[in-house]
């Protein structure tokens, strides 16, 4: 049985519901939008890389571009593939090729392939992709979306027009959130907006998800509501873990780390970034700060290489225990 077949209720995720449909609706990223609109005007699109942090409109820009280019039936001309879910070389060989080589019928002689989270593709798959891009340029244009363009191999980068997306400025994010609040008839308070920006820092998807979760509480959305949502959504309390470690309880700190990684799926790189920030705020002796930063950097690099997150971060936690001990000794 399908759930809710006869049910009239319908709620979408607001991040989808309020996703801009055309380039002019895009939130901020003005220069990028200008260039993309000029592609639409000339009915031609080069291969592109959209790089930038999450929630800044990369996927939206690709979808808007397609819609502006092909009109309402744009779905027939684009294919969206997510490299995180299908990042192997076989996907490139089979799916991408099959799509890329078939000429489209219509006014515009090429189709658009959107490869989302392309920085998660293996380098083998990227090599295969590079040849496919070259061979089928006539019939297919690629838009590669990535958080870090550095993870895209050089030969692909050199074939693509680069677009760098940046975090949304505060006023743009606020404007968009206010718009949603108005349409959904929410009581969004100013300090609530402050808090959302503090928590989400220009990641619009995260901001909208936070707003929707806060709205589900059926109370005015103030700072308190927002912080409680943020705390529940990401119970990864890195600061608490650092305190536990510096207090000398390694085993407990490691347990907290394990829960973060295994239960809440927090990425090791996020944890280490927060630890790095905390190091310089902490009270450890000055020489220890740079020593810890050195270790954090080394461990960060190992994580990029694909080492075991828990084992590596535990090594860092053990150093924090050591630093905490030194701190007590000096007082």
């Amino acid at each position: 049985m399908k759930l809710g077949e006869d049910c009239s209720l319908s709620f979408q995720m607001w991040a989808e519901k309020y996703r801009p449909k055309t380039l002019v609706e895009m939130v901020d990223q003005k220069e990028i939008v200008e260039r993309l609109r000029s592609f639409v005007g000339s009915r031609n699109v080069p291969h592109c890389i959209f790089a930038g942090p999450p929630g800044t409109g990369k996927t939206t820009a690709a979808l808007c571009l397609a819609r502006d280019l092909y009109g309402a039936a744009y779905r027939e001309y684009i294919m969206e593939l997510n490299a995180s879910d299908e990042r192997g070389i076989n996907v490139v060989r089979e799916t991408v090729k099959t799509f890329a080589r078939v000429r489209s019928i219509g006014e515009i002689p090429f189709k658009v392939m959107v490869l989302d989270e392309a920085d998660n593709m293996t380098s083998d798959a990227q090599q295969a992709l590079r040849r496919t891009m070259e061979r089928y340029t006539e019939t297919c244009r690629f838009i590669l979306i990535a958080n870090y363009s550095g993870k895209i191999i050089e030969p692909i980068q050199s074939r693509c027009a680069p677009f760098r997306f940046t975090y949304l400025p505060r006023e743009e994010q606020d404007r968009h959130l206010r718009l949603i609040a108005e349409k959904e008839k929410l009581n969004l308070l100013d300090d609530g907006l402050d808090a959302i920006f503090e928590v989400c820092g220009g990641d619009l998807r995260k901001a909208i998800n936070t707003l929707q979760a806060a709205a589900s509480l059926n109370k005015p959305i103030d700072a308190k509501a927002v912080y409680s949502i943020a705390g529940k959504a990401h119970p990864a309390d890195v600061r608490k873990m650092i305190e536990t470690a510096m207090g000398g309880n390694f085993s407990e700190a490691r347990k907290q780390l394990r829960v973060m990684i295994q239960k809440y799926g927090v990425a090791g790189s996020d944890i280490i970034r927060q630890i790095h920030t905390e190091i310089f705020r902490s009270a450890v002796p000055e020489p220890w700060k740079i020593k810890l930063a050195d270790i954090a950097g080394e461990i960060d690099y190992r994580l990029v290489e694909g080492a075991d997150e828990e084992v590596q971060l535990s090594a860092l936690l053990a150093r924090l225990v050591e630093a905490g001990y030194e701190l007590k000794e000096t007082i």
Binding site: L3, G4, N209, S314
Partner: protein, 419 residues
């Protein structure tokens, strides 16, 4: 001074030998076939695993048939010269005293390498010239080195006697030594020997000599003697070793694979290295071991394995500088693995919800399960109406709704709205 029981109680006669009845009959028939003329095959090649009575059978035959046994080990006739001298003996029809002679070339497996070049060839010469039975013994007759030699021989295979037969032999020895042995004690020794009668007799002597009674208790510890050490002993050796070599050696004794051993060490280091400096250094060594594991993965070059072992054993042991010994601390099963297996179903559920989200929102399933699912969870806990709407929009199934709502009551509210 005690004599070795393997010699003291060596069967003198064929009737005392346990097992291999078939092989012995075949061998005796062949020896008997030596009359005035030599049989077609002048040598018998007895082969089989060690300690099951090959040599003893030949000796017992010589004894029972009153033959002179001329015995040489491979180590005695390595050179061609030595063998030629030996061949002289073999070529004579009988001994000085008119009796028959039987020639035994034992431990043929020992003829190895270039140093023994010619040894096998010379052995063939001995067999060719022989005018009396020549017996060859090796563990493996099918070694390619013996391929020519085999053509001149009748092959007789000796097999491991069953535990019951070994036990019978042990019982006989106990009787002769005046030891009262419990049945299951002897059974234990016999089974453990896996058909190697010689090692069973050695074990019996080690355990029972000088005793009037042999109980099961007396022998049961034998099981631990050379079996792979238990994980606790291994961990103790690694974490408390004073030398690198000692810590590294422990890996060979572990009966778990290297990854699992790593998890055991990783779990237990903090409780046993309590000094903060020691702990930090030990954890750093473990992280290095992990780095090499990654390097193997990337390069597919397994020779890096040795560095994993270095860091996870010696690296940990050498980190131990300031920690003072503090009595007995138990070793714990890796909690990480316990938690991983517990959360496996949960992660699968999260990912399946992630795929539902992906269908609607241009995000990978993995990212959705990590970044969007937490917000859904809050909504499903707080707002049945919005949850129901989203459940419909995302096409979630009953189990997914229950998972996100977290409690029966809340999921019931949501499901009611949906029906």
């Amino acid at each position: 001074m005690y004599a070795a029981w393997t010699i003291k109680h060596k069967p003198k006669s064929l009737k005392d030998i346990v097992g291999n009845k078939e092989a012995i009959r075949k061998f005796v028939d062949w020896v008997k076939s030596w009359g005035r003329d030599s049989p077609k095959r002048k040598a018998a090649f007895l082969y089989g695993p060690p300690g099951i009575g090959k040599t003893i059978t030949v000796e017992a035959v010589a004894n029972d048939f009153h033959m002179e046994l001329v015995e040489k080990n491979a180590s005695d006739y390595r050179t061609e010269d030595a063998i030629k001298h030996f061949a002289g003996l073999a070529s004579q029809y009988g001994s000085l005293f008119g009796g028959k002679r039987i020639i035994l070339l034992d431990e043929l497996d020992g003829l190895t390498g270039t140093a023994d070049r010619g040894g096998v060839k010379a052995t063939i010469e001995v067999v060719k010239m022989a005018h009396c039975p020549v017996v060859l013994i090796a563990n493996n007759a099918y070694n390619p080195r013996f391929s020519t030699l085999r053509k001149y021989c009748i092959l007789i295979e000796f097999k491991k006697p069953p535990a019951g037969a070994v036990m019978k032999h042990l019982k006989r020895i106990c009787l002769l030594e005046g030891i009262q042995a419990e049945e299951n004690a002897l059974k234990f020794i016999a089974q453990r020997s896996e058909g190697d009668v010689r090692s069973a007799v050695n074990d019996l002597q080690a355990l029972a000599q000088g005793k009037k009674r042999l109980t099961y208790e007396d022998v049961s510890w034998l099981g631990y003697r050379d079996r792979q050490e238990t994980i606790f002993t291994v961990l103790k050796m690694i974490i408390y070793s004073k030398t690198c070599e000692g810590a590294k050696k422990a890996v060979r004794m572990a009966d778990v694979d290297l990854d699992m051993l790593f998890q055991w060490i990783y779990e237990n280091v903090p409780a046993h290295l309590t000094d903060p400096h020691d702990l930090a250094n030990a954890m750093y060594a473990l992280s290095m071991a992990d780095v090499y594991r990654g390097r193997i993965r990337r390069t597919r070059d397994w020779s890096f394995m040795r560095y994993i072992i270095d860091f996870m054993t010696a690296g940990v042991a050498m980190a131990r500088v300031n920690t003072k010994p503090s009595g007995w601390i138990p070793f714990k099963f890796p909690q990480r693995i316990r938690m991983l297996s517990r959360s496996k179903t949960e992660r699968a559920m999260q990912l399946s919800i992630g795929y539902k989200i992906k269908r609607r929102s241009h995000v990978s399933a993995i990212r959705a399960s990590k970044e969007i699912l937490p917000y859904l969870r809050i909504i499903f806990k707080n707002n049945a109406e919005m949850a129901a709407g989203l459940a419909k929009w995302l096409d979630l199934d009953l189990r997914m709704v229950e998972y996100l709502a977290g409690s029966n009551k809340k999921s019931k509210d949501i499901i009611e709205l949906l029906s």
